[in-house]
Point group: C2
Chain length 476, copies 2
Amino acid sequence: MTDPASSLSTDLIARFTAIVGASHALREAADIAPHLEELRGLYHGRSSLVLKPGSVEEVSAILKLATETGTAIVPQGGNTGLVGAQTPDESGRAVVVSMSRMNRIREIDLVGNVIVAESGCVLAAVQSAANEADRMFPLSLGSEGSCEIGGNLSSNAGGTAVLAYGNARQLCLGLEVVLPTGEIWSGLRRLKKDNTGYDLRDLFIGAEGTLGIITAAVLKLYARPKGHEVVFAALDTPADALELFRLAEDLCGTSLTGFELMPRIGVEFTSRHIENVRDPLPEPYPWYALIDISSRQSPEAARSMVEELFEAASDKGLVRDAVLAESETQKHELWHMREAMSWAQQPEGGSIKHDVSVPIARIPEFLDRAGKGVLAAEPAARIVAFGHIGDGNIHYNISQPVGADKAAFLARWHEMNEIVHGVVLDLDGSISAEHGIGQLKREELAAIRQPIEIDLMKRIKKAFDPAGIMNPGKML
Amino acid sequence: MTDPASSLSTDLIARFTAIVGASHALREAADIAPHLEELRGLYHGRSSLVLKPGSVEEVSAILKLATETGTAIVPQGGNTGLVGAQTPDESGRAVVVSMSRMNRIREIDLVGNVIVAESGCVLAAVQSAANEADRMFPLSLGSEGSCEIGGNLSSNAGGTAVLAYGNARQLCLGLEVVLPTGEIWSGLRRLKKDNTGYDLRDLFIGAEGTLGIITAAVLKLYARPKGHEVVFAALDTPADALELFRLAEDLCGTSLTGFELMPRIGVEFTSRHIENVRDPLPEPYPWYALIDISSRQSPEAARSMVEELFEAASDKGLVRDAVLAESETQKHELWHMREAMSWAQQPEGGSIKHDVSVPIARIPEFLDRAGKGVLAAEPAARIVAFGHIGDGNIHYNISQPVGADKAAFLARWHEMNEIVHGVVLDLDGSISAEHGIGQLKREELAAIRQPIEIDLMKRIKKAFDPAGIMNPGKML
C-alpha cells in the first residue's frame, strides 16, 4: 500500500505521524519544500514526510521505528549547512526529522557558567539568553540568526571567535543523544573533569547526524569582556600578517579574540557592492588584518594591549597604516566588511570555493603556491583568499575573470579544487576546516584520509548504527 | 614448548624478542620487576617479557603478532598511574610494552606553537624542551619527573594547570597510534580546525591503552607569562572560596592559572610533617585558597589583577587574611605546601582516598553532605579535602582517627567509598575526575555509568580490538 506521491508506504507514514501528532507531521508539498533544499539551492532532495518532534521521547520513538523498518532518517536543524549534510537525497525514501520545536533553554547555571539548551534552539537565542544573564556564549557565525545548536554541534561549527574560545566542540561539556536504535544517552554532564571511560561526547560532535540525533547540550558560558578594541591594519604580505599575529598572540593570549586576514581585492569587492562599506584607509595596500582584542578587566587594559602591540609592530616595520575603531559603530563597520566579504563576491560572477586549513606557519607558502597554480590554469582568475589566520583557516575563493562566462568558469570547479587541495594536502592541511563533509566532499574524503581512518570510521558507524538509517550518503 | 617460568611459550617469546632485538627484550626477573608493580605497591602482576620498542614499526610488528597469537599486551609509560592501568595481571600471560625508549622530541614548531614528542618522552623533558625554546608546555603534575607523555594522554592527565590550559586532551592536536592489529594511524596533524570525519583522536585520549598504543603526539605550546603572582588567602567556608573563585574568574579569565582549596587540617599536616613548610599566617582559619595569576603582558598587569581581586573580595568581606608571595622562593613555598598535602597524610596513618568532581556550584554542598556522612560512620575520622576548585575536582581523603589501627581503618575503604561516591553521584558528579578507571574502579564504572554508555564503549572496543589483546581487564 504505497502512497502514490512518495516511496514511503502510507502505513509507515501513519505510524511515524502517530508519534508526533498530525499537526507536527508535515505532509503537504508546500510545507515540506523548505526542508528539501538549502538556501543556495545547491542541494535538494525529495521526501514525503517531515517530522517535528517535541520531546526526547518522541525522537526516541521515531528512531526506534526507523531502525525496525529500515527507514532512512535525515536530521535537520536550521538548514544552513554548506555541504549538503542536512537535506534528503532524491530517492524520496527518507524521513526528515526537524528539531526546531525542541527549542527550550532548560537551565542557566551562573555559578557553573553553563547553559543547557535543546538542540533546536537558534544560536542567536542561546547568545541572547546568555547576554540576559550577563554572560556570553561566544560561538558566532554568519548564519547565527537561523542555524540551530544541534546543527552547530553536529558540524562542529567554527566562526569568528574560535581563536580565543574554540569551535563548537570546545564549548560543549555534555550531550543528550538519541541513538539510531532509539536508546537515549543522557550525557548532560557539566563537569570540567571526568575520566570515566571513552570520550563518547566528542564522537557525536562533528558526526553530521550519522551516529544519532543530539537533542540537548550543556554549553559553556563566559564573562562578558569589559574592554574591546578593533583595529584594521594594512600590511605588505601574508608573512607580515603571520608575524603580527604571533606578536599579538604572545602579548594578548586569549585576549586576542579575532585575527582575520583579508586581501586587497576583498576590500575592493565589499566597498563596491556592500552598502555602508568603504575602504577605511586613504591608500590601497596589498593585505589587511582585522584584529579584535578583548579584556575581561577594563577598557584601559584592552587599549593598552593595542598600544603595546602596535609599538612592537612598528619596531619591526610590519604595519603600513592602521585604523583603530573609535566607536561601537566603527567596530561594527570593520567587522561587517569582513563578514560581507563572503557574499560580496556574488555580483562579480561565478566563484569557486574552498574552506581549507594548513598549519599556520605555512599559510604564506600555501597562498603563494596555490596562487601560482590557479593563475597558471587561469591567468585572469581573481583570488579572494581571506579568513581566520590564527586558526590556519583560509576561505580560498576564486572569482571568475571579468566578463567571462559564469557557467563555463564554474564548470572548472573540480579542476580548481584539485589544484588548491593538492597544495593543502602537500602541506598537511585539511580540505574542510569548518564546513564539514556532507555530500559535497564525501568522495574526496575517502581519497584524502588514510584507508585505516576511513576503516575506523566505518567500524564506529556500524557499531552505533547497525541498520544504517542515520543520514545515509553523508560523510562516509 | 612452554617456558617453565612463565605462561608464554618460548617460541612466542623468541618471536617477540626478534622484533626489538635481544638487548631490548627484558627476560630476567630483576629487570622485569620494576615493570610489574607501581610505586605504592597497590597493584602488581606477573610477566616474563617486557619489550622496549624503538620505533613505530617495531610497535606495529609487536601488536600484529599479538593479535595473530591472541597475546595480551599491557602498554606502559612511566608507571606512575594511580589506578593500576599500567601493570599486568597475575596470569603471567601478558607482554608488557614499555614505551620509554621512544623518547625523541621530533620537532618544535615555533610559529605553529607545537611540539611533536614521542610517547616515551618524560613530561619534564617536554616541559624543558619547551622552556629552552622560550615557550611553555603547561601540563604539570606531581609525577612530572617520571611520567611519560603517552601515559599522560592515555589517562587524560589533569594536574594544577587545568584551569587555564585544560587537561592533556585539550593540549593535544594530533596523534600517531598503532592499532591492536598493527596498523599505523598517522594522525600527527597540527591543525586547529579540521572537520573531516569522526574525532578519532579523542577516542584514544583517556582510553588507558585499551584501543591501541600512542607512539607520538603533537602538543600545543604557549607563550611564557611575563608576570606571575601567588596569593594564599584565609577563608571561613567553601562557599566563600567559591565566590572568591567566581570573582577571580570574572576578573582574570585565563590569567587565573590556579585556584586551589585547602582545609585547615591540610595546612596542619604539611606544617607538621614536611620540611620547610609552615603556616604562612599568624592565626588559624578554617579554609584557605591558593590563587595563581599570570599575565602574558607584564608583571604590573599581574599585580594589578591581584589588587583588583582583593579589593572586590574585601568589599564582600570574603577574605579573613592573606599573604602575597614577594619572591620566587615564597611562590615556590606556597605551591609546595599544596603539592605536599598529598604525601603529608602518610605519617598520620591510613588514608582512604577519592578523586571526585562535581559541578563547581555544588562543591560546598558536596563537602557538607559527604562530611556529615563520613563523620556519622566514623566520628573521629579526619577529612582532608583539597583540590582544584575551579575544575570542580576535590581530592577527598579521609585520615584515620588518631591512634586507631591502620589496617582496621583501611578495611573500611569500600564503606567510605560508598558514602562519598553516593553524594558525588547524587550531585551528577564523577567518581574519577582525573586519575581514571584502570583496575581500581573497573567494577564501579559498570555500576555508575548508564548501561547504554557501557554498551557503546564495548562496541567501540570490539570494533577497534577484535582479538581483545589491548590491556585486558582495565577500564571495561
